[in-house]
Symmetry: C2
Subunit: 330 residues, 2 copies
């Protein structure tokens, strides 16, 4: 199959963890054996855990040698893979959405690992332009490994865009639950899987912003209880500073709540999800470039929102029976 | 990778041609080499052309031996593959959404071909229950080929459902173009790719049904010009039998137009697409079990339809920048 086929699998794996890798980038990696068999489709899942390439090497080796028992700690895992690969991935092909890192961060450089495995080819979606981590490609080329760059580059650049934005200081997206025919209110719209994913995203945010009207109407808690995660700090966007303090969100331990009549605090925070209804959607700051729609599998009777801002769907992925649809401002 | 991974690729390929294989079933087929490399992902594309398995064998052999020149005619192709496979697919694995056929129809039995190739395994999504074509599995088992049945069986049954329905006499679906936020009117909603796909579907219909109000308002042609295909016969569902005969649909050559105040003519036709607006959607006969939504990548201002009938999305696939979403009545 063409390289794009495998890169797409890597992309799909990576998008599953978009946002949840904060402050790291979402990265996906596929490994094919020397014979072309897919041995691993993996993604970086969480900051502090193994990089996509390391996870993929682990999965591939585990498939080829089921007797291997891998350490949990990512640095120990990296060392273990270097010591125990037994040349099983010699002449393998690697597909990775972002140039393999070349620096000692929380974990050792992935480029070193791939070089040690004697893989035959590394296909890279997107070059790493950061002065810190870049240089992986050059290291691989120098070792005689075939490197192809720019496979599904546009799609890989899109995957990386949130990371590049929050590295520069700010990335925000508006989260919306929508029935199949566009209805966004009237009680619960999406399934349990989507609501759980929202909680999984919340725990990684630097700030959760919400419209004041939604706070008054829905009286939400805005925590991450569905994944037993950390509740984010909250910004309530409201002209009116008075709120009923018995609304559950005010009683979440170790949470800071800010009430502001401007988006200023949002723009100063690196990774923000915005929740709310049609009013909030219309009042979004122009710096909020992305929408994330959780789309249910059902139709619903009710009003559909009047969205005048121009957004375009750029990615979709299943989430249980729902769809997650990512939109970007045009 | 697990068998389900490859079967899903076969399913995705097959859904691309759902409806376009009429009166044949939509079928997908994947071939992996003895080493596990994916050699082909194919689907049956059109009645009278090669079955999915034959297309996949052709693609796989062409990849392994690029010097092969294949005949066009499906029966000649089948004979050519039998004579020229050079055991290149010995020990390959085959994934097919429907049990390979065992009868001489327009083309010779696929089960014979797979047996001759000496493949190692055949994974089947769904057993063929038709007395005419069934028995392929038994033939393979008898030849010592490993056969696994029931891989993604539910999904494969869904793929086959339209075929089973039109074989019993009637399958109909309502086609709807919808913006991302549920708007269905106000001019063109979806992209060129979706409109072309609608025309590709139209040329295979036994009947195209449309609501009378839509005919009066949109003054459509309802042909298949975007794919240079045959324009279908039309049923206009309307209490009022009078129509302006200058509406283009009345002037399409070799077309029969029926105007009826009941769905009776629709229910007597085996493969029907229904077009129209919110009124038609509300008046659908209960025998119309499916919706096909062409979903644009953009939001649009306007009204969203009030859909009170219970439908659930059961499949989605990209169509250009749009999505095709299949719904079924709950
Ligand atoms: Zn790395
Ligand atoms: Zn066949």
């Amino acid at each position: 199959m063409p390289d794009e086929f495998y890169m797409r699998l890597a992309l799909e794996a990576a998008w599953e963890f978009q946002g949840r890798t904060y402050p790291n980038p979402a990265v996906g990696c596929v490994i094919c054996s020397q014979h072309g068999e897919i041995l691993a489709i993996e993604a970086h899942q969480k900051a502090g855990e193994a990089h996509a390439e390391v996870r993929a090497v682990k999965t591939a080796l585990g498939r080829l040698n089921p007797s291997l028992i891998f350490p949990q700690d990512p640095t120990a895992l990296h060392a273990f893979l270097l010591a125990n690969h037994q040349n099983l991935l010699k002449d393998a092909s690697i597909y990775v959405t972002l140039e393999p890192c070349n620096h000692y961060g929380t974990t050792p450089p992935c480029a070193l690992l791939l070089r040690a495995l004697h893989v035959r080819r590394v296909c890279i979606g997107m070059k790493d332009e950061s002065p810190k981590a870049s240089g992986g490609m050059a290291r691989l080329v120098k070792a005689g490994i075939g490197v192809k760059q720019g496979v599904l580059e546009k799609e890989c650049a899109l995957l990386l865009a949130p990371f590049l934005a929050w590295q520069k200081g700010h990335f925000s997206f508006f989260k919306l639950a929508m029935s199949s025919n566009g209805v966004i209110d009237g009680g619960i719209v999406t399934s349990e899987a989507s609501r759980k994913r929202v909680h999984e995203l919340r725990q990684h945010l630097s700030l959760l912003a919400i419209g004041g009207n939604t706070v008054r109407t829905d009286r939400p808690t805005l925590d991450a209880r569905l994944c037993a995660g950390k509740a984010p700090d909250v910004l309530i966007y409201s002209r009116e500073a008075q709120f009923d303090q018995s609304i559950p969100l005010f009683s979440v331990p170790e949470r800071k709540v800010t009430i502001a009549s401007s988006w200023e605090p949002l723009l100063c925070s690196p990774f923000v999800m915005i929740e709310g209804g049609e009013g909030t959607l219309r009042a979004l700051p122009e710096q909020t470039q992305w929408l994330l729609v959780f789309r249910s599998a059902h139709f619903k009777t009710g009003q559909c929102p009047c969205i005048t801002a121009r957004f375009k769907r750029v990615w979709h992925q299943p989430c249980g029976e729902d769809m997650m649809e990512w939109y970007i401002r045009e």
